[in-house]
């Protein structure tokens, strides 16, 4: 494709076009020669583009692939490549604090989040590798992400939260203020309501990371939102509260005030340390059991009102279109769901034998009370064991010993929560909601096992 077609004059001014073409060329060269030093001699190669500009470009591209440099190519992300001793019992190991006091994972581990290939890189999401997860906690570095406008870098020393609207005394809090208030720590999952959106019509993505990777569990620590609301004094008639982030989307969602008073947390910590930047550093709203988009990150403002605000993310997006053309709005709670993470899509069982079937179950409405597993596509079910602690609104690990005989099988799991709700089959959901509702797919997942042990995503 010649360049002039790629950047048509109808959409690009001459300067933008030149810039775009230059970038294409740079990307081509960097991909062709990833080892090349990013040296000063390159500067000025393209009119108006400096090395800093290049770096910014590389970063905006999300581009490990585009960043040159050898170190990155050697160890997996988050790991450091150390010398591997032929016999570790015969020589001293690496010295303590060679990591400068903040550890990293083993160089033999390479699990990473996977970015769903949305067309817009700014508004995109990355998914948790559930297949290799253990227990119920997601490592902070593998917690799924959904950003609408990139990840801001915010200095906590200047960040403030303003609480105003229908309150007696509008208040302003620094991060230090919030950390001085009584705190709580809770272990909760967050699930994006778009989790599984590719799977309504036909099995589309191959792995459990692709089909279910928009859910993750962390321990979150912060101040109860009710503490702040009581400090400010909520006026009579208040019914909703707007939460607003300090990112470039200035993300906003309306939340029922009852939820805010009940169990909402303003979280500044995740899994025992400061919350990660991509999870909202320095402050995130946590609404246990609500769809992920409402857990506003980089929180800067809360406004109490008597009505919902009808922001873009609760009208144009995150609404569920029904077959009759009406759309459901404020479908906030995530219903009970489970998935088998082992064995799961795109794996190959090496041979017949014993396998422990395992996975996670969760419900936005409470505790998981039961998970059943079927190996025959739902004809017969066997109850799996739930591993404690079984916490409300939290990933719950289930396990079931299983003997694969080498015959075809379809593995499924079905969760029940303490409201008595039972996870439905996909056909039941589609019967009521059709195929265009995008969000809130919580159907039973099926993994087909072929005679040669290949595991594939199927609708059964």
């Amino acid at each position: 494709m010649p360049n002039d077609e790629k950047f048509p004059a109808s959409r690009y001014g001459p300067a933008e076009r030149h810039m775009a073409e230059s970038l294409v060329e740079i990307e081509r060269q960097m991909l062709a020669d990833p080892q090349q030093e990013d040296c000063d001699c390159k500067e000025g190669m393209f009119n108006g583009l400096t090395r800093r500009g290049l770096l910014a470009g590389g970063l905006a591209l999300g581009g490990g692939a585009l960043m040159s440099g050898r170190a990155a190519a050697e160890a997996p992300p988050g790991a450091v490549e150390y010398y591997v001793q032929p016999d570790p019992t015969k020589e001293q190991g690496r010295l303590i604090l060679q990591d400068d006091g903040y550890g990293s994972r083993s160089q033999f581990e390479s699990e990473v989040r996977w970015r769903y290939p949305t067309a817009s890189i700014e508004s995109s999401w990355s998914m948790t590798p559930l297949a290799s997860g253990h227990g119920i906690i997601t490592p902070s570095g593998l917690h799924f992400e959904r950003h609408h406008a990139g990840i801001p870098t915010i200095d906590p020393r200047t960040h403030e939260l303003i609480l105003h609207g229908m309150v007696d005394t509008p208040m302003r809090f620094t991060m230090d203020d919030l950390k001085r208030l009584p705190a709580v720590s809770k272990i909760h999952f967050i699930e994006c309501s778009g989790n599984g959106l590719t799977e309504w019509d036909e099995p589309t993505l191959k792995t459990v990371q692709g089909t279910h990777g928009l859910t993750s569990t962390s321990e979150w620590t912060g101040v109860r939102l009710s503490t702040l609301l009581e400090m400010a004094g909520v006026s009579d008639g208040a019914a909703w509260i707007l939460a607003e982030g300090a990112d470039a989307a200035v993300m906003t969602r309306s939340v029922p005030i009852d939820k805010a008073m009940d169990d909402a947390i303003l979280a500044y910590a995740q899994n025992g340390e400061a919350i990660r930047p991509e999870q909202g550093y320095p402050l995130r709203l946590l609404l246990p059991g609500y769809e992920g988009n409402t857990h506003i990150k980089w929180l800067r403002r809360l406004e109490v009102s008597d009505k919902p605000f009808m922001t873009r993310e609760e009208t144009s997006k995150y609404t569920d279109l029904m077959p009759d053309g009406s759309a459901r709005q404020f479908s906030l709670e995530m219903e009970a769901k489970s998935v088998i993470t082992f064995p799961s899509g795109a794996m190959k069982l090496p041979r017949p034998g014993f396998y422990e079937v395992t996975g996670v179950a969760w419900s936005g409405r409470g505790k998981i009370t039961k998970v059943e597993v079927s190996a025959d596509g739902g004809k017969t079910w066997e109850e799996a064991s739930l591993e404690g602690p079984v916490l409300p609104i939290c990933h719950t690990r289930f396990r079931l010993p299983w003997k694969w005989t080498g015959e075809q099988a379809v593995l499924q799991s079905r969760a029940t929560d303490d409201t008595g709700y039972v996870q439905p089959a996909l056909s039941e959901l589609v019967d009521v909601r059709g195929l265009n509702s995008v969000y809130h797919l919580n159907a039973i997942q099926s993994w087909h096992i072929s005679e040669d042990g290949e595991v594939t995503n199927v609708h059964a």
Binding site: I121, P170, M310
Partner: protein, 229 residues
């Protein structure tokens, strides 16, 4: 192919990036933009612990834990609130003073929006920029087309979102007059208000607009599916 698309977005982002402006090589002496490095205690050499966070309240005041009086935080002033209180509600609450015409909106749209959303607002799918027009009457079809015109229940959301988050590479950069004008242009092209070049939107007229799909939304009826034990 995918990489190419990213490149396009990147190119547009770079075109307005402040990084390009200050490219003279000489770094300005700037404040430290990360945490101070660990300090050590005398004698034992231990790592100094965190400093206890400090309340921003001017004075400690009365402490009564049972009634949430902690002497922490401070009242927010009108000025501080209005500096970031940018939301606009369906009844027009939050709409600023100002106005803009369809004709001015066309100029502003062509300049600030068309590169991504297309000159006829048809969207550019490889940039992830949605179509803003079309799709009326398709919501119950097999392939519904959800746009500002066909799907959005309130005009206030258009003002709010464009002002807050668009154009993608420089959000929050448009003046109230520009947002009114661009809204008039989009809603005029959508046939929701007149597409006469002089059609003007301001706070009052904006709040009166009834969108085609205003009654299209229902409350969440779940649990609607799923057995109950």
């Amino acid at each position: 192919m995918f990489m190419r698309n990213l490149t396009v977005v990147c190119a547009i982002a770079l075109a307005t990036s402040p990084l390009l402006a200050e490219d003279s090589g000489e770094e300005k002496a700037t404040e430290r933009t990360s945490a101070t490095l660990p300090e050590r205690l005398e004698e034992t050499g231990e790592r100094a612990p965190m400093e206890p966070p400090r309340s921003s309240a001017e004075e400690v005041g009365e402490i009564d834990v049972s009634s949430n009086a902690f002497g922490v935080g401070q009242p927010a002033t009108e000025e501080q609130i209005s500096a970031i209180d940018i939301d606009v509600m369906p009844d027009g609450q939050g709409l600023p003073e100002g106005s803009g015409t369809f004709a001015d909106g066309k100029t502003a749209y062509d300049q600030a929006c068309a590169a991504c959303h297309g000159s006829d607002m048809e969207g550019v799918s490889e940039l992830g920029a949605p179509a803003l027009l079309g799709g009326r009457g398709t919501l119950a079809d097999d392939s519904p087309v959800k746009t500002v015109e066909s799907y959005w229940p309130y005009a206030s959301t258009l003002y709010d979102y464009v002002h807050r988050a668009m154009p993608l590479q420089s959000p929050g950069s448009l003046s109230p007059d520009e947002v009114y004008a661009i809204s008039a242009y989009i809603l005029g092209r959508a046939g929701i208000i007149s597409d006469d070049p002089d059609t003007t939107l301001d706070a009052d007229s904006m709040a009166e607009i009834k969108m085609p799909n205003a009654d299209g939304f229902v409350e969440d009826p779940r649990p609607d599916v799923g057995g109950n034990e």
